[in-house]
């Protein structure tokens, strides 16, 4: 109304200028200032910023930017690189966030840096003082931060959450998730849903109890918590909010009290369903003979009401898991177009080797197909019951013996796909899945729980299935379950995947390359050697008319620690710790001519 009044009082020539000013103001306000819920929900559609790990709350990791595309990507060159410094290197599994002229990136050993978006210069850093007694199972990684209001929030290896002022790096609030001496730690990126900070727990190898918690993102105050092991009480605003499931329905005796199901990879969110989708880890201990039953809600996707913290539905991939097939993998909402209909669906490439497509409103199984070449433990999934058709591949019961009989099983416990997130392109209709081809010898051992100690009851050793490759980036058509193309990599793939409207798919390799592929054909179009293995999550943003791609480099993660024979194959990869940023090459001559 007020702008109309102004327009009527000025000459026609000025109206244009006013409109121009208003447009400029609205553009800058779209990516500056405090981060709001609306901005987070719209993250996937705003190429000037990256406000969420997953590039949007659904976690599709799809960018609408097209300047870097399958034609121009050959000219992609480094713009700058930032070293994480110090002696603390190891795995860098993080994704950068971009907002208000700053890049926020986390690193190994619970560190976080704010960088100048244009130059890569360090603005401030936060290094968490870690106690000596931390027990992260699978390397000292961190998978990214969350932005909300004027805060950057991330979790630490001693199971704390730290909220920092985005401008100064000063601590605004800190909260303890749980006692690190009990085996708890935190490595995932938190998720923001309606002003709440959504987090899980790590520590599934130590008999912790998995749960999802929602805190007020501005203050850290707890709003609700929802355990992911049946029998435990949930809370809402400090009051009891019903136990998860029914005590002892799928767990015998007291084992649920240390039942695992760690929610160590965080969650995605579907605004249209108001559901938070969280994957859960293996039940504890690994030796399944100790815990007959389905052991809900382990190895599942759990859909939780964002407002009241209640479980609306769950789907379990590996009932009574015996192979450490954590079901933590990200559940990505997408619109499934099949037989002329559009279904509100979600997909998950599970550690157990199945690519599941579920109805995201009610959890009903729509399809399940293998995305790896070999699955010894199950021959398929019964679409009526939603349960796997098992093929008698469980290791023997040790009873009182020192060691039960061993079996060879595939995938290995490091999974057909592990933590590294896949991507979905609405443009090609394909999921891009970073898979690995390996199996394991696995056997059981007797076990009793001891606080803070590894709680496995199993022994294992990993073996590659093929001589020439372990990693395979696969394009999966969710409508048919067919693999449309694949790229084979000698070392196991351990980094996140991103896809763009420029018909590109990006991912990193332990050999040190960031690579770009044609999204339709899988043809390798570009690669760059970053100096250390890439196990980070690539992302992209636009600034001043140029598109940038950024990825963390630094070899580590679970493979060198748990990889058996594979660990030997990758032991000569150099460690590192840096963040690389790329853009299209522009010759100096061209820049001068433009001016």
């Amino acid at each position: 109304m007020s702008s109309n009044a102004v327009a009527s009082n000025v000459a026609g020539g000025s109206i244009k200028a006013l409109a121009g000013l208003a447009l400029a103001a609205s553009i800058s306000s779209a990516f500056a200032g405090p981060v709001t819920d609306a901005m987070i929900l719209n993250d996937q559609n705003t190429p000037n910023d990256v406000l969420t790990v997953g590039m949007g709350t659904t976690g599709q990791r799809f960018s609408s930017s097209t300047q870097i595309n399958s034609d121009t990507v050959v000219d992609l060159v480094p713009a700058w690189s930032f070293s994480f410094g110090g002696e603390k290197q190891r795995g860098q599994e993080t994704q950068a966030l971009v907002h208000d002229g700053k890049i926020f990136i986390t690193g190994s050993y619970s560190r976080l840096w704010a960088l100048d978006q244009k130059t890569g210069s360090k603005l401030w850093s936060y290094e968490h003082r870690l106690p000596e007694g931390i027990v992260p199972c699978c390397d000292v990684v961190n998978r990214g931060a969350a932005l909300y209001d004027n805060l950057v929030i991330f979790g630490t290896l001693d199971a704390k959450l730290v909220a920092l002022n985005a401008d100064t790096g000063k601590v605004v609030w800190t909260e303890t998730i749980d006692d690190f001496k009990g085996g708890y730690s935190y490595t995932a990126a938190p998720l923001i849903v309606k002003g709440k900070l959504i987090t899980g727990v790590s520590g599934g190898e130590f008999g912790v109890v998995g749960r999802i918690e929602a805190r007020d993102a501005k203050t850290g105050k707890m709003v609700w918590s929802r355990p992911t092991v049946e029998g435990h009480m949930g809370y809402l605003n400090g009051k009891e909010n019903g136990i998860s499931g029914k005590t002892n329905a799928t767990w015998p005796g007291d084992l649920w009290k240390t039942g695992g199901a760690a929610t160590w990879l965080g969650c995605t969110y579907g605004a249209d369903t108001n559901l938070i989708y969280c994957g859960t880890g293996n039940p504890a201990p690994w030796n399944a003979f100790t815990r007959p039953g389905d052991n809900l809600y382990s190895t599942s996707t759990v859909a939780i009401n964002a407002d009241n913290g209640k479980i609306e539905w769950s789907y379990q991939g590996t009932p009574n898991d015996h192979w450490d097939f954590d079901g933590v993998n990200e559940f990505i909402a997408f619109d499934l177009k099949k037989d002329g209909k559009t279904v509100k669906a979600g997909a998950k490439a599970d550690r157990n080797g199945f690519f599941y497509v579920l109805n995201r409103e009610n959890g009903k199984l729509l399809a399940a197909s293998p995305f790896v070449t070999k699955q010894t433990w199950a021959s398929g999934v019964d679409l009526k019951t939603g349960r796997p058709v098992e093929s008698n591949n469980r290791p023997g019961d040790p009873q009182k013996a020192e060691k039960g009989s061993s079996v060879f099983a595939a995938p290995s416990f490091l999974g057909g796909k592990n933590w590294m997130p896949m991507a979905y392109s609405g443009q090609t209709g394909l999921f891009y899945v970073p898979a690995n081809e390996w199996g394991m010898d696995i056997w059981n051992e007797p076990i009793t729980y001891k606080k803070g100690a590894a709680y496995l009851g199993a022994g294992f050793t990993i073996k590659p299935l093929y001589d020439d490759y372990i990693g395979a980036l696969r394009a999966v058509d969710p409508a048919t379950g067919k693999i449309v193309w694949e790229y084979k990599n000698p070392a196991p793939l351990w980094g996140g995947v991103m896809t763009t409207a420029g018909n590109l798919v990006f991912t990193g390799t332990p050999e040190g390359f960031l690579k770009a592929f044609d999204a339709k054909t899988g043809k390798e179009l570009w690669k760059f050697q970053t100096g250390s293995g890439v196990v980070g999550q690539p992302t992209t943003w636009e600034q001043d008319g140029e598109q940038y791609v950024g990825v963390a480099s630094g070899w580590g993660g679970a493979v060198p620690l748990w990889g058996g024979e594979v660990a030997k194959k990758v032991k000569d990869i150099s460690q590192g710790g840096s963040f690389w940023v790329f853009k299209l090459h522009k010759s100096g001559k061209a820049t001068v001519a433009q001016q």
Partner: protein
Amino acid sequence: MSTLPLIVMLCLVAASASAAELPADPLNSPAWSTIAGRYFKGQTVAFDARVKVTAPSSAEDPLDVPVQISAEGLPDVQEMLVVADLNPIQKILSYEPLRAAPSLAFRFKVEQSTPIRVAARTRDGVWHLGGVWLSAAGGGCTTPSYGSADPVWQTRLNEVRGRLWPADDHTGQRLRLRVIHPMDTGLANGIPAFYIDRIVLSDAKGVTLARLNTFEPVSENPVLSFDLRGSGAVQVSGGDIQGNTFSAEISP
């Protein structure tokens, strides 16, 4: 000779003239002009015998040097600043006595032989300075704190112990505090800075008695003594740079 070097020379003369306005340092510290420029720029400073630092002449343990500061006899002290000229991190603490006496005892880490100075700012804005030389074998700031070897802080971080007793002259009471904290300087390789940066004392009614900001050089598991006026229980609250907080009540 062109005119340009002449201008440069003039600037140099001007700079040394303004530096000459600083009173000569009775401690003859090589870092005096740096310290003065950093903490007292554009302000009036005066060396004053009423401002005292008591410390051993030689540091037996460079990680834990006991120091007592006092500006008794100086009216209206608003703030007391303690610096060690030749430490890699000079600023040790700043203290607002408010309703307490302008005196404090603490322990700190010393890197090499250095002057320890206390500057007391009175209501008129003048900084009154006193200090002593401390000789030290060194290494206190770049050595990992005991905390990295002694895991006690990992279970007892920010645990407060304290004791109150009446002053000898019956004008108030003395409070001694000990807080469990590694007080890492960030200079030891691989250990990030991690230290208590604020402690506030208040009485039972919530009236603030004194406010203290501590920095990296304060010793691990800080031991602090305050001279308070009045009597009764004292509320202690504080926190470190990573958002961990503590509070305790110390009763006589």
